[in-house]
Symmetry: C2
Subunit: 414 residues, 2 copies
């Protein structure tokens, strides 16, 4: 698509200017964005009202409408998020490693921007300002392609941000929005490795799969979290019940929520009733295997599909396992490599689980809900990577940079 | 293709064992490989003779035949390479970062294997042992898919390596070779993101492009090097001529060789004859623009195609530029992001070039030929990354690892 390529060419042109901009100018641009978001909140809310109206007319669920809806408070939170990013340390230009070689060459590795980043996301308009601010801070130009459900909101937010950074002296094309929300525009973006250095999909499993399968641009997979908690034979049952309750119910719609519970056979008769008692308080639906059903009568029988499902809802699958090996094998088979937890009092079991389970975050005796840039102390994040290349876990500012070697010589030849 | 998927499933199964193997067992396996390569050198050389014979019959160039050919000395060098990898520090299980959070959670980030790595390469059989040894040391299982020209050699080498690691107690499937060298087998490998965590193409620009365009597995692009040297107005002309001579002629077939020379107009009348005098000693063909032709009569006129060409031969394109900005713009347009050099005595020009040129390695006053794992002090490498995700520049053992967060709690919930 010609118009998408045009955005790409503009992003590349802006990139060369932004990459060399100092932290002062980038931070001034971010402060301008924060101010402008609040100043033009009325315009943004009017645009958002159209999206909400359209969503209601097309039968959007109340949960999705809630994600879509903006008000003064939410816009103030968006602006605050941008200010936090302005206040963070600059991730560009840091020396990561350096050495003088025997021949006198001074080699160092420094952090540099990645270049042009594409972000494909769904119907949460706050992603527009979050993603743009994170990319800008790390010296990257961004092409945003949000869902059609939020197109009026996104257009208004992007327009406010573009003017704000222009006033700080940066090219407005450091932030661009794809206004064509057809499937074709997303496909065109995925095929544009000439102009894009990285593509980040933010959204549901279907979106992420489509981008991974269809893209010739390097992709960082984010978000799908089929997270397990394994209650070991030696677990403290009260602690286990607390952790399961927190990981399942504190925010069921997010990727670090627990979706599946594995319980060692030797503790199942004590642990399962304790867990159920806690989950009942929030009416969590339990889908269990036969062994679970024999301890908690009346649970919905789990099918094979349940083990691989990210419910994002007040539902949990539960299975009794014969050993920690059964648990780690189950996780290797069904897990999405996001966050996995063991509850145990056994040193040996803890070590075994930590070393054998392959996921972005592996926990002993803590809720999976901590897998988060803020909770890890990284500040804002653009998603949680569940792949193994480039970055794994919460993607903070540092993960939005690349590196280059600079080599200072005095005429050395080889 | 069913058989390629079968290799994938086996690689995944072996991965879980290898990932938890300690450095001792991995190093013993590598030592076994080194010994076995030498012990079975006769078998490998016989197999290689068939490839060389087939190559001759199909009219393979002498340069390619030379890359293909194995003898005792080359096999000893392969074994020595594997021993060096055994002797290197283990890249797995290192704590990269760690912190205790205010809530008492102890978070650390540790290096872990990537998982299953596919390597697609052309007709250099030594890549088989290099790539397998590097992957094994970093705890990754590998699926090797070499060119059909070296299939007999590769089959012999892989068979020797598999038996050697089996004797050390590792699954032989840690190292697998795709014996089907049809285009379909490469395509199947590229589409196998269920089983492969990373695909590394090693070879010419055509191969790399095909893998980048066709793969749903994360790829690290390696190798294409359209490297420039820019002789600034303030350059030391003798140093410049030395560096150009070295970067162009010391090994023209490699990716860090210089392919294109940019000369500031103010120094062209002095620098070009000096450079030409050096290059003439090796009969380097100069393809120049008009301004070059007016200083060195009789040069081949450069066409637009020359600026983008990686000759890998004793040919160099040369252009006179009006300013350092013209030089960095030319590099941004035609460079492949590999290695770029400025020769200058000006502090300002050096700083400007270092900050504005976006490449894996940016040099002041040294030959581009130094972009190499050994020269950078990293030991063996599996290629030079010219992309910005995960790793840029020489890919050593550390770059063949991923990370995971481990979080130790005492019942924390959020």
């Amino acid at each position: 698509m010609k118009e998408i390529k045009e955005l790409g060419a503009r992003a590349r042109a802006a990139e060369r200017i932004l990459a060399c901009a100092g932290a002062n100018i980038k931070n001034a641009a971010l402060q301008n964005i924060a101010e402008a978001l609040v100043f033009y909140a009325g315009d943004i809310i009017s645009a958002n009202a159209k999206d909400v109206e359209n969503g209601k007319n097309s039968g959007m669920s109340e949960a999705l409408l809630d994600r879509l809806r903006l008000d003064d408070k939410r816009i103030a939170a968006m602006a605050e998020g941008v200010r936090d990013i302005a206040a963070a340390a600059d991730p560009v230009g840091n020396v990561i490693w350096g050495e003088t070689r025997p021949n006198g060459l001074k080699i160092s590795r420094i952090s540099v921007p990645i270049g042009v980043i594409g972000v494909i996301f769904e119907a949460r308009p706050n992603v527009t300002s979050d993603a743009a601010a994170l990319c800008l801070k790390a010296g990257n130009t961004v092409i945003l392609r949000g869902g059609k459900e939020a197109i009026n909101s996104n257009t208004a937010i992007a327009s406010v941000m573009r003017r704000a950074i222009g006033k700080a002296g940066l090219p407005e094309d450091c932030i661009q929005l794809v206004t064509d929300t057809s499937r074709e525009s997303a496909t065109a973006l995925m095929k544009m490795n000439e102009y894009l250095d990285l593509l980040i999909p933010r959204g549901g499993a279907g979106l992420i799969r489509a981008v991974v399968e269809g893209s010739n641009v390097p992709v960082i997979e984010t978000g799908v979290g089929n997270c397990h908690i394994y209650i070991d034979a030696s677990a403290d049952v009260d602690m286990a019940a607390d952790i399961v309750y927190n990981a399942k119910t504190s925010r069921p719609s997010v990727c670090n929520a627990c979706e599946s519970l594995l319980v060692h056979r030797d503790i199942a008769a004590r642990a399962l009733p304790a867990v159920k008692a806690r989950l009942d308080a929030k009416n969590v639906e339990i889908r269990g295997d036969e062994a679970v059903g024999s301890i908690i009568p009346g649970v919905v029988p789990a099918t094979e599909d349940d083990w691989g499902t990210e419910y994002l809802d007040l539902v949990i699958s539960v299975k009794v396992v014969n050993s920690i090996d059964d648990a780690t094998e189950h996780i290797a088979k069904y897990g999405s490599g996001h966050s996995e937890c063991i509850v145990t009092e056994s040193y040996e079991a803890a070590q075994k689980f930590l070393s054998e389970v392959d996921a972005a975050a592996v926990y002993v005796n803590a809720s999976t809900r901590f897998t988060d840039g803020g909770e890890f102390g990284f500040g804002a994040e653009i998603g949680i990577s569940t792949q193994k290349l480039h970055a794994r876990g919460p993607l903070g500012l540092k993960n939005l940079t690349s590196e280059k070697y600079i080599i200072l010589g005095s005429g050395q030849v080889r």
